[in-house]
Amino acid sequence: MRSLLSRAKIPLLTILAMAVAILAASETNSYYLYVINLCMINAIAAVGLVILTGVAGQISLATAALLAIGSYSTAILMVHLGLGFLPAAVLGAFATTAIGTILAGPALRLTGLHVAIVTLAFGIIVVQLIGKGGTFTGGMSGMTLPPVTILGWALDSEWRRFIVILIPFALVTAGSIRFLRLKPGRALRALRERELAARTLGVNASAYKILAFAYASFLGGVSGALYASLKGYISVDDFTLWNSIYFFVMIALGGMTSIVGGIAGAFVVTAAPEFLRGFQEASQAVFGVLLFLIVVFFPGGIVTPFAGLSRLLSTRKKRAAAPGANENPPGSPSR
């Protein structure tokens, strides 16, 4: 864990600093805390997308649908079956994993653009079906969740929700960074860059693609369940194609292949509209243009320069301390 922290130092510190500043402000206004909670929830899904789209190279425009399945499963289990939040959320996450992994099927046989289109269609159809679910899903009017308690502890304040969201967020981040740094990340990158050679080295291409879809779907489901608990009320309008596009943009901001970059991108994309609320119409345009400029001129993302810097600093320290134990020298794709 120590080497993990030293490597992601600067971007993590940036996020931490932002969060702390906002937390301080939220002493007076729990709205800012709500925004941070939303950022973390989106970040969880964004991490999944980094692995699926950024590293495994499967363009997915179905992220919002994954959240929808997670949210609605949780809500349905709580409302119709009376389950508590924790079991409902866990089941919801697994349901999302099962359904999302179905997309791996076509992806195994199709090219990149085809996969993008299939996920696009899937994403919209799932949400449309939810919207036509009548009383089961609340149809177009959405569903309200009963008050959320975890093991007897009621989530009735933004701070409590913050803690409940922070834990999975931290675990997902740490676990995913390890995932990318170790065997699975290497296998996925090898498949992306040198598929033929990778397979001769024993990498099971199909299995790893399915794994990538499953991983991203699971995180989407977790994100969705937490989203439902945060807002207390969900409707199909929360999970449109535009939302999927926003997730895509989050990871694009961070350079597509970087977990920390994706998280930072999630924070920026989630928080910015909230803070530009005063300039409603201008914000969407400015936002759109800015993102466009970044994607065109900085395909490596704007956060990865930070990541590169932090790696440079930490490897210098490491070379002084332990010669020869060099696992990720500069130039390696970030986790």
């Binding site: 864990m1 740490a174 676990g175 995913s176 390890r178 995932f179 740094r181 170790l182 065997k183 699975p184 990340g185 290497r186 296998a187 990158r189 090898a190 860059e193 040198r194 033929l196 050679a197 990778a198 397979r199 001769t200 080295l201 024993g202 990498v203 099971n204 291409a205 790893y208 794994l211 020869g324 134990a325 060099n326 696992e327 990720n328 020298p329 130039g331 390696s332 794709p333």
Partner: protein, 260 residues
């Protein structure tokens, strides 16, 4: 008679109207260094691709590895059985270092489930540590220096890249190594260096090596047995020295020189 490590029987491959391989059949004995030579387009790489599983030969053909049929298996399954290879045009990952590239060769040896990587488990750390040691060992054997290991491969000279690709293929101690033109594009010094590495490899293990190459020095130095292909057909097979003197083989190469 011990079982050959590789047994080819009636291997034929057609691409549209072109016959790439035509009824090829022969054996390779375990522990040998076996060369496959022949003019360009004779079907050598196609044969490798059949072994790897990229190409499926026509019905009726068999490729047995230690008695197990390879045809129809997926590429990663073939690898799992213990067969490694290198590629004609180097298939390393450009923006990674030598060490990182070789590490990908240990994919099958890292004894933990991909999902286990997300947890800070002892077995994961142990597997990674062991992998690092294995990389050190193979690089000692093949004489790849630490400095080279820590450099991006696209910044390395071709000779070093070739060695790293070999290292990547053998670091997991396969039973069979397929080398496709390992000396392609190398100058004399680099070729000698490569031959030295391959000889160290042979001396230290039971590895069976099958080499495709045009460099006769390398082939003669290294190989015990040779097979000669021309237009997809096997035209000679036997001990290197004999094959070299086979009139049919000479004719093929002279013919090539005439054409050239």
């Amino acid at each position: 008679m011990t079982q050959p490590i590789l047994h080819f029987d009636q291997i034929s491959v057609r691409f549209g109207g072109v016959v790439a391989l035509d009824g090829v059949g022969f054996d390779i004995a375990r522990g040998d260094t076996f060369g496959i030579i022949g003019p360009n387009g004779a079907g050598k790489t196609t044969l490798f691709n059949c072994i790897s599983g990229f190409i499926k030969p026509e019905a009726g053909g068999r490729i047995d590895f230690n008695g197990k049929n390879l045809i129809g298996r997926s590429v990663h399954e073939v690898a799992k059985l213990g067969i490694s290879r290198s590629f004609q045009n180097i298939a390393l990952m450009h923006d990674l270092t030598g060490r990182q590239n070789i590490l990908t060769g240990l994919h099958l040896r890292l004894a933990y489930h991909p999902l286990a990587s997300i947890l800070p488990l002892r077995r994961v750390a142990d597997a990674e540590a062991q992998a690092a040691r294995q990389i050190e060992k193979i690089c000692d054997l093949l004489k790849i220096s630490g400095a080279v290991l820590d450099t991006r491969v696209d910044a390395l000279p071709l000779g070093q890249q070739k060695k790293i690709e070999v290292a990547r293929a053998v670091v997991r101690a396969p039973e069979l190594l397929l080398l496709d033109e390992p000396a392609g594009g190398l100058n004399d010094r680099e070729t000698a260096d490569l031959i030295g590495s391959l000889e160290s490899l042979r001396a230290s293990s039971e590895l069976t090596i099958v080499v495709i190459d045009h460099d006769m020095n390398l082939v003669m130095d290294l190989c015990d047995q040779l097979a000669v292909l021309d237009f997809g057909k096997l035209i000679a097979i036997g001990a290197a020295a004999e094959v070299q003197d086979d009139p049919a083989v000479i004719a093929v190469y002279l013919g090539e020189q005439d054409a050239a």
